[in-house]
């Protein structure tokens, strides 16, 4: 019986030692002590089975195996308990102050004018318009004569021009384009037959004083669609869709009579005021009118269609010009256009 009692004593000792083991390394030490391959004490007892008299061997063997299994189970149990305790500690004693800021990651942004330009081009692109750019430094014949604004025409007052200091044949012909319309003429010139459906983005320049709503350098998008069957109602439809993309699906638009020498009829388009929704007598955006003037447009003058070599009795077209900064001002409620080219990152990084 001494063998059995030794077994029982070892079991109790091992369980006590296990309960006292505080961490994984103590568990490993315990395992070596009791289950080490060479001289683990449980291993030794199991090995001692051969010294037990044959009559007791079976009973001893069964008891020894039972102890071995119990202790192995206890080890696993203890290991799991320690792991759980460690996890508990991680989420309590080692809890983070999640209100501290994260590590700064670098992220750049597009300029708000670029963003607005991209959004506009996307809206028109979805309606089949191609993007066609033209030069900012332009010949006067494209900027003016080609769009029916000859010299000594009062419509030249609509665009105060910055002239380039280059004399050719004793005259100045080079200028900073005052609008993107000259590229209408360039696109028509290089397109042998309709259809034409382009948007022309780019910078324009005006010789004028700067204030909260005027900049001498500005960004425009010119639109031009020329084909058989292009109607003024299509112009309205295209601009309506663009307005909804830029200013919200519930936008309304209205055409007012206007005049640009290169279109006939000519209109100005306004959108309903999404700031005051038409009830703001004091509204700074629409000045209480409920409408915001946003762009000029019209049907391409038949003379321009003819100059392109198309038959103006069959082919019609429309054109429009959008001031990108104005759209950006409106969509974000920015009060001063001069913010755009002041390049203060504290302003730019908010968009």
């Amino acid at each position: 019986m001494s063998n059995v009692s030794a077994l029982e004593g070892l079991r109790e000792e091992a369980l006590a030692a296990l309960a006292a083991a505080p961490d994984e390394s103590a568990l490993e030490q315990w395992r070596i002590t009791f289950f080490g391959r060479q001289d683990g004490r449980v291993t030794a007892l199991l090995r001692a089975i051969k010294d037990v008299p044959a009559s007791e061997r079976a009973a001893y063997g069964a008891s020894a195996n039972a102890v071995k299994q119990e202790l192995e189970g206890a080890l696993e149990g203890r290991r799991e308990a320690l792991k759980q305790a460690a996890l508990r500690a991680l989420s309590t004693e080692s809890a983070l102050d999640v209100t501290l800021p994260g590590r700064p990651q670098v992220i750049g942004r597009l300029h708000p004018v670029t963003q607005t330009m991209r959004d506009c081009l996307k809206a028109f692109g979805d309606m089949g318009f191609r993007v066609a750019e033209g030069p900012e430094v332009e010949w006067d014949r494209y900027n003016f004569d080609g769009v029916r604004i000859p010299e000594d025409h009062p419509a030249r007052d609509m665009w105060d021009t910055i002239w380039v200091n280059t004399l050719i044949d004793g005259k100045r012909h080079m200028l900073l384009r005052t609008h993107t319309s000259p590229n209408q003429v360039r696109v028509l010139e290089r397109t042998p037959a309709p259809p034409v459906r382009v948007v022309v983005p780019g910078k324009c320049y005006r010789q004028e004083a700067t204030d909260a709503t005027h900049e001498w350098m500005l960004t425009q998008i010119e639109g031009l669609a020329v084909d058989e069957g292009v109607r003024m109602s299509d112009l309205k439809g295209v601009l309506y869709e663009w307005s909804r993309q830029m200013f919200g699906q519930d936008r309304k638009i209205i055409f007012h009579h206007s005049y640009f020498p290169f279109v006939e009829p000519g209109v100005e388009m306004a959108i309903d005021c999404f700031i005051c929704r038409g009830n703001g007598k004091e509204c700074r955006t629409c000045h209480g009118t409920g409408w915001i003037e946003i762009l000029g447009a019209g049907m391409v003058h038949p003379e321009i269609i003819e100059t392109a070599g198309y038959d103006s009795s069959k082919v019609t077209g429309f054109a429009f010009g959008i001031g990108v900064e104005r759209v950006a001002l409106l969509r974000w409620g920015i009060e001063d256009i001069r913010n755009f080219y002041a390049n203060d990152i504290r302003f730019l990084s908010q968009f």
């Binding site: 670098v106 750049g108 597009l110 025409h153 259809p195 034409v196 003024m232 019609t316």
Partner: protein, 806 residues
Amino acid sequence: MKLSLNWLRDFVDVDLPVAELASRLIDATAEVEGWETIGANWDPERIRVAEVVEVAPHPNADRLRLVTVNDGEGRQQVVCGAPNVAVGQKIAFATEGAELVDGHTGERARLKLRPIRGVDSAGMVLSEKELGLSDDHEGILVLAPDAVPGRPLVEQLGDVVFDISTWANRADLLGVMGFGRETAAITGKPLREPSTAHGESARKASEFVEVSIEAPDLCPRYTASVIENVTIGPSPAWMQERLIRAGQRPINNVVDITNYVMLETGQPLHAFDYDFVRGKRIVVRRAEEGERLLTLDDVERVFDSEMLLICDGEGPVAVGGVKGGGNSEVTEKTRTILLEAANFRAGSVRRTSTYLKLRTEASLRFEKGLGAEVPEYAQHRALHLFEQLAGGTPAAGIVDVYPGAKPPRTIAVTSARIEQVLGIAVPAEDVRRILAALGFGVEENTPGQYSVQPPDWRPDVEIADDVIEDIGRIHGYHRLPTTMLRGQLPEPERDPVRDLRERLRDLAVTLGFQETLSYTLTDRARLARMVPDSDSLRSEPLGVVNPVAAQHTFLRTSLRPSVLETYAANRHHEAGALRIFEVGFEYLPVEGDLPHHRPVLCAVLGGLREGRWPQAGTERLDFYDARGVAEAALQRLGIPVNFTAVSEFGLLPGHTAEIRVGKDPVGILGQIHPDNAALFDLTEPVFLVELWVESLARHLPERPAYAAPSRFPEVRQDLALVLDSETPAGRVLELVRSHRSGQVRIGADIFDEYRGPGVPAGKKSLAIAMRFQSSERTLTDADVAKVQSGLVTRLAKEFGATVRGG
């Protein structure tokens, strides 16, 4: 222009509310910028017309008088200090409680009556200032003699004055009648025309003056009438009031009538003192080069031979369509008037007024194109008024020289074209009604085929689409549906440079840069901060003649100064790392042609790297950050590049590399030279990356070169080399990466560069982490050893490299 609602009502009944009228005019006619209501605060009970019936001295004050007025209900006595009060005048009379502007403080207040120097006052005789009409507080406002005592002043004098900007092609809208016609068309009310009836004397105008036109190309028509026995004096109050509301200063009845008729019809008129017209002749001719005239504004004008002069028998008396001369001005002594109403070529008037820097009410109208029939109408209207208001007698007939007479124009307009342009059909009765109301003649001989005669005051109407615009705007654009473009999609507009430019913009943003956009015009001093004189292309930028400001005189030939200036400006308030970029054009001059618009991405970075929170950052961004940006962007584009040390103005030697594809330069990067940085007040190291979009576009692969990942594991092995200090590590790395042995590829990165103890002087050690991989099989140690030994042999041959510890 200023449009008085009262005046408009002479021509058409208006029963729309003011805001509604304004909005209808905006929709169809012109831009109504706003309006001013005159008399909005005049209480009809408390501010009324009264007549002065007695003026007596004040018993206690020399400068005050006791004025008795009849206010329609009875006599009232008031104390009045105005010097101009006189018996018989109709005046504006206010009683207790009326809201007025205080004559001294300018504040609005209710009238409170109190005795003045011991005498009670029953009310107050008002000045223009007290009514809010003007700042005039010198004397009382004297009303028209026919004003009826007791009538509320707001009925007598109240008005709404619209501020309207009209379009550049509509001279007819610079006359109230033009708006009368538009309003009639918009509202459907009939138009009333003013009287042009007048008598005439037995003597013919042609006996007074002879007119000849020597420049019919610049003056299609010249009419002259003569009015005898005029009495110069002030014009009547109602006329003065209208002129003032239109923004004109009343002068005398003759000048006022000419201005009044101009404001009414749009046709400028000019009155000469007939007695000063030498030779009793008018000659319309081009000026002789250098010819001079003292104009009415007392400035001596010098003319060139393209300018049109109105001359008498001896010399110039007026600048055609622009301004009269001082030598024939109407004065108090004038008895006989020669009245000019002419038609001048629009472009010529504009040119003359631009060159003379003399914009007048007349030139503003002529330059927009007036109808050649209007002068005759304006003459008769003026003669009517001269007879009524200046006591004159018109000579019989009008001298009319009309070399530019044209047959009436007829334009064919079809209902099909209307629909083709507008997208909707307009019913025939609407077409007829609208055109008739605007003064067009319309015949519809075949259904849908209109034969249209535009009125002569509308020279802007030239083609069918002009007529269709008039139909469309009056019919109302709100009737147009919103439809979508139909038909074939156009050919694509290919522009690979633009596409790449926009991709680079996105890549810069992805890499943490903030986009900025700056003015493309700069000055030479700024350009010179980063452009050397020796760069003949960039140091001779295109200039502009009339810059908005001196610092915006030259088209920039480099983006570097702009971006560095932006960097420096932001450094004032930004403590950490700054990464900014701009994509824009360099405008490079081309002889005899438009400049080359060269697209460039210019990025600048510097400052303290973002910290390992919660520790603060102490490490600065450096050259290798700049290079990393270039590498990442170009790798993303699939463009294989190499970097070569170069020197470049504005960049620090030894810290500058050109980015090349093969031997083709596609960009540059480096540290801004501290001397140049100092020009921007920058003392910290700042780094530049510039990519040249057109050059890059030539090397952009259509699609990325792609290889499937190998199924077989890679073998990792480090290699330490000892090399001459000067050997460019990049070349070594390039060689390792490009080494091929059978199907085995090598991936490699440098993880250490070391000089010092353990490495001989003049040498450096380079540690390279290599990854060997085959696409065909799992590599054995022997395979790797074989590839590596081949590689080491090449490295030894190429760079004299030895394996460290090998």
